[in-house]
């Protein structure tokens, strides 16, 4: 594969002759293309063109296509091009190149930029309403499946649910405890640092207690569960969808909602309140520890102050939100999982969407609950 590709032209009145030589291969395709473009650009008035390939040492598809391109530049409007000196072993390849790319390329401009932007806005709006409908539909299907289970309790996939509780609940305990403990400690530290300036250190206990029990415990746990388990639900269901496992279930007469989705959603609805309780306790513990070590509020004082400042209401408000948020996370994750199309990219896209949407909806729901509890003065 030594020879540099060459293309020499020699004009002889009406006749123009090109002599090609060297390696016309993929490696030199860029160089050959420039030679050919040059030759075509000059475009002498010759009516008959001969392309002599006798000097070619190596030829592959790339070279053959470029020879063909040179030919096509001349053929038509009463002129003709001819190949001479084609080596026997390259004849088939040249013929193959001659027959391809005959279909007229599609022409026509794409839509203008304004139209594209408008189109995108419309499409995302339609997407948004579609996903809302899908969410409501899934909620309905899960409810229907749940009612069927009440009618025939034996049909419930209990083992599957226990397995999911193990994954979503039990295995999440260490990370949930660690994160909530740290957040509780950080809030207490920040509170002490700032409250101390006006001698209100002891109110840190009120702040930590109310904040953790009403809002932070449940929110932190839900965000972690959405990132940890919601994404796993979506990825599992999505790859099952990609490999037609869900279709296989359907053809065997099973409803994927009963078999796959209901156990997952029941599991997450059971696991999240438990995790919320554990997380809240860990955060209070972290807060208490920092109050003692950093703020000098000893544990007895912390506990008695805590008992004064919080009531059972605060605890209930936090915990009652947990199953609803869990339901949202589970439903969003399952809807996104079933939306996955064939490609790996689609799987990634829907897994991301699952986490982002779930966290967004959890926070919106939290706001709705805040308004509700403010109204009923709890």
């Amino acid at each position: 594969m030594s020879g540099e590709p060459l293309l020499k032209s020699a004009a002889d009145g009406e006749r123009l002759q090109f002599k090609a030589a060297g390696s016309w291969t993929a490696k030199h395709a860029g160089a050959i293309e420039r030679l050919i473009d040059e030759a075509v650009r000059q475009k002498p008035a010759a009516r008959r063109v001969e392309i002599d390939l006798a000097g070619i040492e190596h030829l592959d598809t790339y070279g053959a296509w470029l020879v063909e391109r040179l030919m096509r530049a001349w053929n038509g409007d009463g002129r003709e091009a001819k190949l001479v000196g084609v080596a026997e072993n390259y004849r088939v390849l040249i013929e193959e190149a001659h027959s391809v790319n005959r279909a007229a390329p599609k022409t026509g401009h794409g839509p203008s930029r304004v139209v594209v932007v408008l189109n995108n806005i419309g499409a995302s709006l339609a997407d948004f309403s579609q996903s809302l409908i899908a969410l409501v539909q899934m909620l309905g299907e899960v409810t229907a499946a749940l009612l069927r289970v009440f009618a025939h309790p034996r049909s419930f996939r209990f083992t599957s649910m226990v397995h999911q509780i193990d994954r979503v609940g039990w295995r999440a305990v260490p990370i949930v405890l660690l994160i909530t403990f740290l957040i509780g400690a950080i809030i207490a530290q920040q509170g002490i640092f700032h409250f101390r300036k006006f001698g209100a250190d002891i109110f840190v206990v009120d702040m930590v207690g109310i904040l953790v029990l009403r809002e932070l415990g449940v929110l932190l746990v839900c965000i972690m569960v959405a990132g940890r388990s919601g994404s796993a639900y979506t990825a599992e269901l999505g790859s099952m969808k990609m490999r037609e496992e869900i279709d296989a279930l359907r053809t065997m007469g099973f409803d994927p909602i009963d078999v796959l989705i209901l156990p997952r959603i029941v599991a997450i609805v059971i696991a999240v309140p438990i995790l919320t309780f554990l997380g809240s306790m860990a955060a209070l513990y972290g807060g208490g520890l920092v109050c003692w070590l950093y703020g000098g509020i000893n544990p007895e004082v912390f506990l008695s102050r805590l008992r004064e400042s919080i009531t059972l209401d605060h605890f209930e408000v936090g915990l009652i939100k947990a199953p609803f948020m869990a339901l949202i996370i589970g439903v969003v994750a399952c809807v996104e999982g079933l939306e996955v199309k064939g490609s790996a990219e689609s799987l990634g896209l829907h897994t991301t969407a699952s986490v982002v949407k779930a966290i967004f909806m959890v926070i919106v729901l939290d706001g709705v609950f805040a308004m509700f509890f403010a109204t009923i003065e709890k």
């Binding site: 291969t25 993929a26 490696k27 395709a29 860029g30 293309e33 592959d60 598809t61 790339y62 296509w65 470029l66 391109r69 072993n89 088939v92 390849l93 193959e96 190149a97 027959s99 391809v100 790319n101 279909a103 199309k341 064939g342 490609s343 790996a344 990219e345 689609s346």
Partner: protein
């Protein structure tokens, strides 16, 4: 062509490959000559794909030597290895097309990475490749999930041929295709082999492919190559496994 004149492009000698305590390939030796179509057969699970994947470097070997184009692949640096890899193309059993790229982009992918081509050239050559494997220009914008099984294999073949390789490895190219498409695919492989002067290493179970397109057949059983030669040799053999495979019920029905 006399035996001595044939150029060996792949030489596998004394190859041992195993998982855990089991040696799947036990001192295997195999030569593949330039310009031939080698059909590689063996019982399911006998290690055909293991041999192919070891040769192309996806599995580690325990012992032995693999030479491709005279280069010992056990003893090369990254650059030399890449130079060899550019000269072969692989068609995986399920196509292994990149699911986030269109058919045309899949074919263009190796070209874009390895060659210095203008956009126009990239477009034209990739389309030409798609057309050479018998696809129309309509598939260019389609994603792998929108292609049928036969189309997927064709696009994958076009991608394997993108860099004008000298060897193509085909892993069960006709599995999962209907007999007509399988026949067309065999014909296509034969045509491309003639047009491009390819050497083809084909793992297959398709008796029709073995009869129609393979110049030579190698048989793997019990971790060893138990026979190699043209179809006539296989049919004449008295080895019980070969008899069952080539002259068994299914084979007999084929000839009926």
């Amino acid at each position: 062509m006399a035996e001595a004149q044939k150029e060996v492009v792949i030489r596998v000698s004394d190859l041992v490959v195993g998982f855990g305590k089991i040696n799947v390939l036990d001192h295997v030796a195999l030569d593949v000559y330039r310009g031939e179509i080698l059909g590689f057969v063996g019982a399911s699970g006998s290690g055909k794909s293991v041999l192919m994947r070891t040769v192309i470097g996806l599995l580690p070997k325990r012992e032995g030597r693999i030479e491709v184009f005279g280069v010992d692949l056990g003893n090369v640096n990254e650059k030399e290895r890449q130079a060899v890899e550019r000269r072969w193309g692989v068609l995986f059993q399920h196509g292994a097309l990149f699911s986030s790229l269109t058919a045309l982009q899949n074919v263009q992918f190796p070209m874009r990475e390895y060659l210095d081509l203008s956009d126009r050239m990239l477009q034209e050559v990739a389309l030409a490749k798609l057309e050479m494997v018998g696809l129309t220009a309509d598939v260019r914008g389609k994603f792998p999930s929108e292609l049928s099984g036969g189309m997927t294999k064709r696009v994958a073949l076009a991608r394997a041929l993108a860099l004008d390789p000298e060897i193509v490895f085909l892993d069960e190219p006709t599995s999962g295709l209907d007999p007509i498409s399988a026949g067309e695919f065999d014909h296509l492989i034969r045509t491309l082999q003639r047009t491009l002067g390819l050497t083809v290493f084909m793992v297959t179970h398709d008796l029709d492919s073995l009869h129609d397109v393979c110049d030579r057949i190698a048989v793997l059983a019990d971790g060893k190559i138990i026979a190699s030669g043209p179809m006539a040799t296989m049919l004449a053999s008295e080895h019980p496994w070969l008899k069952a495979y080539f002259r068994g019920e299914r084979a007999a029905r084929r000839r009926a």
